[in-house]
């Protein structure tokens, strides 16, 4: 029975961790990086040149994943390569597993890690940064040091987990409700945090002052009026508008930036007209 040594496994992970994205392109996406990543393993598992060439060619095919949380995918591929070397499974099976991994690990990685965890960590560090004084330094440094360290650890663990899964494990993993459940729970986290972000950081106000005729009542600031009924309603609407433009109208971020600029112009104009500036 051939077995990948722990040392080789780690070496392979290191290549992945640093050079997963070095030569990505539209043809095989992370294919070259994958061949590079698999090289220590292929060298260890096979003896003849033919077998190696065979294995290298398979590793060069199209591959993609989110590269941090998705590290479980190349980890799994290490395991299937071992199984191929031991003739426990046919190369075709390994190939189809590899292809099947692309979709879910990309999607989960992008939405769970990149769109939930990273913004959350950034937000916490921004909050610390915002406190000013020494915190101005603490916030960025915390992220700069903490994020890579924790991510590398997680990535390496997932890699090992993937390698040890075994065929049934893989099947289970692919259809596992577990992932779905974690994703659901993380989405709750993400949604609440995003709502709080909107309230904390977007600043938008209509600089309009209304002076009721007759002079009986004091002039009213439109913003005050809105905020007394529902605080920060405008920022909330703005966030929703961006969501709507991006998600439903399929507008690009650049287009939306333009819209926001127009709004800024309009609001400033209004402010000048009503005498707020």
């Amino acid at each position: 029975m051939k077995k990948i040594s722990p040392h080789t496994l780690k070496k392979s992970w290191k290549i992945w961790f640093f050079w997963h994205g070095s030569s990505q392109q539209g043809e095989n996406l992370l294919g070259n990086a994958m061949a590079h990543t698999m090289s220590p393993i292929i060298e260890e598992l096979y003896d003849s040149k033919e077998e190696k060439t065979e294995a290298y060619k398979r590793s060069l095919t199209l591959f993609n994943t989110e590269q941090q949380l998705g590290a479980i995918a190349p980890g799994i591929i290490c395991g299937t390569e071992e199984a191929v070397a031991n003739e426990q499974i046919a190369p075709e099976v390994a190939d189809s597993i590899k292809v099947a991994l692309i979709g879910p690990t990309s999607a989960i990685g992008d939405s769970l890690w990149v769109a939930t965890i990273i913004p959350l960590l950034l937000t916490l560090c921004m909050t610390i940064t915002n406190m000013g004084g020494p915190f101005l330094y603490l916030g960025p440094v915390l992220y700069m040091v903490g994020y890579p360290l924790l991510t590398a650890q997680m990535s390496w663990r997932l890699w090992q987990k993937g390698y040890h899964l075994g065929i049934e494990g893989i099947n289970q993993f692919m259809k596992s409700g577990q992932i779905e459940k974690v994703t659901k729970a993380m989405t709750i986290l993400g949604l609440i945090v995003v709502g709080a972000l909107a309230a904390s950081f977007i600043s938008a106000s209509v600089p309009v002052t209304i002076t009721p005729p007759g002079g009986e009542m004091a002039a009213v600031n439109l913003d005050d009026l809105i905020n007394r009924i529902f605080p920060k309603l405008l920022p909330l609407c703005l966030a929703y508008a961006v969501y709507w433009l991006y998600s439903k109208q399929k507008k690009s971020p650049l287009f939306i930036m333009g819209v926001i600029l127009m709004l800024a112009l309009a609001f400033t104009g209004l402010g000048y007209l009503t005498g707020a500036y």
């Binding site: 070259n32 060069l60 990149v114 913004p119 709502g195 961006v242 402010g271």
Partner: protein
């Protein structure tokens, strides 16, 4: 900004790119996030407080930066390094004017970044044949050279050089005595750009929403987070902890339910 500073920043523009030699964890997702990028610029240029203040604005405006399948809609990293360094080069103490400059520089920077990334992505195709040869020859060194060697050389060239040109030009312009940006920018423009900046945070947050919202009712959760700040005066740390608690409880609830049902049926 001296030429040396320009070189150092251009180096980071490369390191912080998607797919740079240090990997995305250290690069794109850490050095490339405005919170960190602005800090790096601040250290290099000797004014961390101003740099980070500018960086926070960019970070907020781009919280939801996700690049599925290599599709970079907006090069946040390029935008930040160019934007913050450019603004700092002209900074004379008036933060409103500097912020306005930052928005201008970062817009240009981000656009160039996207162009360079697409160039990089295209040029990388040339590497594939060498990698394939390596596979044919069962030669791991050749494969490594194709991926990590050539891949990174292409990356470096496409990103470092344009960044250096922009930054060096800016350095020269910025060092011209007599230029006072604050006086050049009219008052109304400052207001516009300030207003713009405040609203830009909606961009990042709105895009994040697009990634997270799958069903309509989920807006209720967003509104809940909103209320925690607006009505309960929680800060982000508190919201994060509370949200984590709720996520854990939710996870436990659905897990236990499943077990019970499974148990009841089997």
């Amino acid at each position: 900004m001296s030429i040396l500073q320009a070189i150092m920043i251009a180096l980071f523009v490369y390191l912080a790119a998607i797919g740079s030699v240090v990997g995305n964890t250290l690069g794109w997702y850490s050095l490339g996030r405005p919170l960190v990028a602005s800090f790096v610029v601040g250290v290099i240029m000797g004014d961390v407080p101003t740099a980070v203040t500018l960086g926070l604005l960019l970070q907020l405006a781009n919280l939801g930066s996700v690049t599925p399948g290599g599709a970079v809609g907006w090069d946040l990293s390029y935008a930040t390094y160019i934007g913050v360094a450019g603004a700092l080069a002209f900074h004379v103490g008036d933060i409103a004017a500097t912020t306005a400059l930052m928005w201008a520089f970062s817009t240009v920077g981000g656009a160039i970044g996207v162009a360079m990334w697409n160039l990089n992505y295209a040029l990388n195709l040339s590497v594939n044949r060498i990698a394939y040869q390596g596979a044919e020859e069962a030669n791991p060194k050749k494969i490594a050279w194709a991926n990590a060697g050539l891949g990174n050389i292409i990356g470096f060239v496409t990103r470092f050089i344009p960044a250096l040109i922009i930054l060096a030009t800016t350095a020269v312009a910025g060092s011209q005595t007599g230029i006072n940006i604050s006086e050049l920018i009219p008052q109304w423009l400052l207001i516009v750009l300030n207003t713009f900046g405040g609203m830009m945070a909606a961009l990042g947050i709105g895009i994040l929403l697009s990634f997270l919202i799958k069903e309509k009712w989920q807006f209720a959760l967003v509104l809940f987070g909103f209320m925690l700040v607006v009505y309960f005066n929680l800060n982000m740390m508190a919201v994060a902890v509370l949200a984590m608690i709720l996520a854990v409880l939710y996870y436990v609830a659905i897990t236990q339910r499943e077990q019970e049902e499974g148990g009841g049926r089997s």
